[in-house]
Amino acid sequence: MSKYYLNYLDELESEAIYILREVWAQFENPVILFSGGKDSILVTHLAKKAFYPSKIPFALMHVDTGHNFPETIQFRNDLVEKLGVKLIVGSVQDSIDNGRVAEEKGKNATRNALQITTLLDAIETNKVDCAIGGGRRDEEKARAKERFFSHRDDFGQWDPKNQRPELWNLLNGKHFEGEHFRAFPISNWTEMDVWNYIKRENISIPSLYFAHEREVVFRSNSWIPVSEYLKLEEGEQVEKKKIRFRTLGDITITGGIESDADTLEKIVQEVAAMRKTERGDRSDDKRSETAMEDRKKQGYF
C-alpha cells in the first residue's frame, strides 16, 4: 500500500483551499486583499487551485498608500490581466484629498495607519462581506489569536476577547447587514512554509524579493530604499547596496536586508538561517509593544 498521508505543505495547501471554498460558499461578495506581497500572491495562487477549471471568483482589492514600489504595481497589473479578475483599488491619497484622513506629521510619519480608513471605506462602498487576507499567525502576537473566519462589527472593528470559537473545520460566517468578515486561509503557514511552497510551485513573485543593487539609506537598523517620498535626515547617507526585501509594504517604511540571494533556492536557504523575524524590518510594528494589536482592533489587515 502506498502512503496515505499528506506532507505538511500539502496539508497546509489543502486547509487553505478548504477555507477559500468556504468563503465562496458562505459569502455574497468576497474579495482578496492584494498588496503585491508574497502572502497575498500565495493566497491568489491557492484560489486559482481551489476553483480550477473555473476562474478565481473573487476580485482583488488593493489598498494603495500611494507610496509604492513601481515593481509591485507592475506585477499587480500583469497578474490581474493574466487571471482575468477584477481589480478594486482603494486609494489612501483619495482619502487624504477627500478629507477622510489627515497625513501624519513629524519625523516618522507614515501612511500605514491611514490605510485603515481607506480599507474600511472600500469594503463599505463595494459592499464586500468578506475580505480574504494573507495574514499569518506566526507574524505577530496579536495575529496569533486570529481565527480563520474573523468577525468585524459594523464599525469594522475586531474584538479579540470576544471571538467566535472555531471548532474542527466548521466555520461560522453568519453576519448581519453592515458587518463583515476577514478570512485568513494561510493562518497556519510560517514564513519558511511560504518560501518552501513558492519554490515548490515556482510561483512568480516581484523582483524586489530577490537580491539586487539599490540606493538605500540606513535607518532603524535596516536599509530603507531611496524614493521620491524619502526625506533624508541629517547624517544619513545614500549608499548603493545589494539588498532584497523580506516583506513588501509602503516603500517609505519597508527595510531591506543585505543579501546575495538572487534565486528561490538561495532565498529558502537564507530564510532558514535567518535569526530575525521578517517584520523586524518593518518600522510600522516597532512603534510600540501593541502596535499591531491596536491597529487590528480598529480594522487593519
Binding site: 496515505y4 498521508y5 499528506l6 506532507n7 505538511y8 505543505l9 500539502d10 496539508e11 497546509l12 495547501e13 489543502s14 486547509e15 483551499i17 478548504y18 471554498r21 468556504e22 465562496w24 460558499a25 486559482k48 487551485k49 481551489a50 476553483f51 480550477y52 477549471p53 473555473s54 476562474k55 499567525r137 506566526d138 502576537k141 496579536a142 496569533a144 489569536k145 479579540p160 476577547k161 471571538q163 467566535r164 470559537p165 472555531e166 471548532l167 474542527w168 473545520n169 466548521l170 461560522n172 453568519k174 453576519h175 448581519f176 497556519n188 510560517t190 519558511m192 512554509d193 518552501n196 529558502v268 532558514a272 535567518m274 535569526r275 530575525k276 523575524t277 509593544e289 501593541t290 494589536e293
Partner: protein, 418 residues
C-alpha cells in the same frame, strides 16, 4: 528546512499560570531554536525590567495587552515550530474552568494533548478536567508531563506515585495512547534534551515523543466521506459541460471508477475524474482538497455527501450528542438553532437534556436541565431534515456539529455525535 515529506502534528497544551505551561512552550521554542534574535532581545529586556535573572521563557508566549497585564491566557493562541522531523502547531489554551470552551476549541483539531502536572501537587481537579476534555474530544495521543521535577529532587518515587494516581482516575476515560514524561520546563530536563537527573527514566524526551508519535492513522481511512462544499461550473467554452464537486475528503479513500452514492438523495453513479488543483489524479484521501466529476448527470449541491455505495453513514433526524455549551447566555428550551455538520446546514432544537457531566468527578447529573456556559451534557437533538452522521468516536469530521444562535449569529455550542 528543505522541502521533504515531513508531517504536520497539531497539539494542544492546557494549563494555568502556575503549572509552568508558558515556560514549557517557551522552552520548546527556545531549545528547538525557533526563537528569533529580535524576539529574544525583546523578551530579555522585559525580563530585566521585571527583575528576573536570565530570560523568562514564559514571556515568549505573551499575547494581547490584557493577557500581559493580568499574566493569564484569555484566548487560544497558536504557535509554530519546525524540527528536521516535523512541523508543529501548538494550540496554547488557558486552563481555568471558565475557559473550558477554549480548551475544547484547541482540542478539536489536535493530534495530541500535552497535560502538565506540578510534581509537588500531583493530580488535581484541573488535571482531571483537562484529561476529561482530551478524552471527550477523542484526541488520539495524550502526553502527561510531570513538571517541576527539580523541586522534588528528580525523585522516581514521586513520579511513580503521580503516574499511579493518574492511571487510577483515568481508567474511567477512553484513552488510546497515554505516555508520561518527568520534566523540568524551567531547567530544560527531558523537554528537548535528555536529563542527566532522571537516569531511571528510559523513554524519550517530550520533543522526541512529539516527533515520533504515529499520526498517520489518526484520520479514519476506512469510511469514505466526501461532503460537497461547492459546485464548480466554469463558464468557458471548452468546459461547458463540466460539473466538478469541490470539497475536502473528510475520511477514507476515493478512486476513479468507484461506485458512489450521493446523499441524501441516494442517487448512484461512478467517479469519472478527480482533480487536485490543476492536476488530475487517480485517487484521493483525507484530508485532501479535491474536486470530482461523476459519470451521470445527477443533482448534487452544497451540503450533499458523496460516499461509497456499500459504506454509508446513518441518516437521522433525531440523535444524541455530547454538547459543550460555549455561550455566555444559557440555552433556551425549545429554541431553534442553526446546526452545521460538515457543509450541511439545517435548523435544530434541543429536545431534551439527558444528563449533565460533572467534569471534575465524571458523575452524571440528571436533575438539572439547564445548559450554561462551559456545561457538558448529553442531549437529544431534532433537526428539520435528516443528517448524514457517523459517531464522533469513529469519525471526528463527520461526527461533529456546532449550533448557532439565530438571533445573534454566535456559535453557542459544539457537539459530538454518540
Amino acid at each position: 528546512m528543505e522541502i521533504n515529506n515531513n508531517q504536520l502534528l497539531r497539539f494542544t497544551t492546557a494549563g494555568s499560570v502556575d503549572d509552568g505551561k508558558s515556560t514549557l512552550i517557551g522552552r520548546l521554542l527556545f531549545d528547538s531554536k525557533s526563537i528569533f534574535e529580535d524576539q529574544l532581545e525583546s523578551v530579555s529586556n522585559t525580563s530585566a525590567k521585571k527583575g528576573h535573572d536570565g530570560v523568562d521563557l514564559a514571556l515568549f508566549t505573551d499575547g494581547l495587552k490584557d493577557e500581559r497585564e493580568q499574566g493569564i491566557t484569555i484566548d487560544v493562541a497558536y504557535r509554530y515550530f519546525t524540527t528536521p522531523k516535523r512541523k508543529f502547531i501548538i494550540a496554547d489554551t488557558p486552563g481555568h474552568i471558565q475557559y473550558t470552551r477554549n480548551m475544547v476549541t484547541g482540542a478539536s483539531t489536535a493530534n495530541a494533548a500535552v497535560i502538565l502536572i506540578d510534581a509537588r501537587h500531583g493530580v488535581i481537579e484541573q488535571t482531571k478536567r483537562h484529561s476529561f476534555i482530551a478524552s471527550l474530544l477523542n484526541i488520539p495521543h495524550l502526553i502527561v508531563c510531570i513538571n517541576k521535577m527539580d523541586l522534588v529532587d528528580f525523585s522516581e518515587e514521586v513520579y511513580n506515585n503521580i503516574v499511579t494516581q493518574f492511571e487510577e482516575f483515568s481508567s474511567k476515560l477512553l484513552m488510546k495512547d497515554v505516555r508520561f514524561i518527568p520534566i523540568s520546563a524551567l531547567l530544560g530536563d527531558n523537554v528537548v534534551n535528555r536529563s542527566k537527573n532522571t537516569e531511571w527514566y528510559q523513554a524519550g524526551t517530550l520533543l522526541s515523543t512529539l516527533e515520533t508519535l504515529h499520526i498517520s492513522s489518526d484520520i479514519n481511512k476506512i469510511d469514505a466521506r466526501f461532503p460537497v462544499q461547492t459546485v464548480l461550473r466554469p463558464q468557458s467554452e471548452e468546459n461547458r459541460d463540466y460539473r466538478g464537486y469541490a470539497g475536502r475528503v473528510a475520511s477514507g479513500i476515493y478512486r476513479v471508477g468507484d461506485e458512489v452514492a450521493v446523499l441524501p438523495s441516494g442517487f448512484q453513479s461512478k467517479i469519472k475524474s478527480i482533480n487536485a488543483g490543476e492536476q488530475e489524479v487517480k485517487e484521493a484521501y483525507a484530508p485532501m482538497s479535491i474536486s470530482m466529476t461523476l459519470e451521470d448527470d445527477i443533482d448534487v449541491s452544497r451540503g450533499d455527501m458523496i460516499v461509497r455505495k456499500n459504506n454509508q453513514p446513518e441518516m437521522e433526524q433525531e440523535f444524541d450528542v455530547m454538547l459543550c455549551w460555549l455561550a455566555n447566555e444559557a440555552a433556551k428550551p425549545r429554541a431553534k438553532y442553526t446546526i452545521i455538520h460538515t457543509s450541511h446546514e439545517e435548523r435544530a432544537i434541543i429536545k431534551e437534556v439527558v444528563y449533565k457531566m460533572d467534569i471534575n468527578t465524571f458523575e452524571r447529573d440528571k436533575s438539572d436541565p439547564q445548559l450554561a456556559m462551559n456545561d457538558i451534557a448529553r442531549v437529544k437533538i431534532r433537526t428539520t431534515r435528516r443528517m448524514m452522521l457517523d459517531t464522533y468516536r469513529e469519525n471526528r469530521n463527520t461526527g461533529s456539529i456546532i449550533l448557532i444562535d439565530e438571533n445573534t449569529n454566535e456559535t453557542v455550542a459544539a457537539g459530538m455525535v454518540v
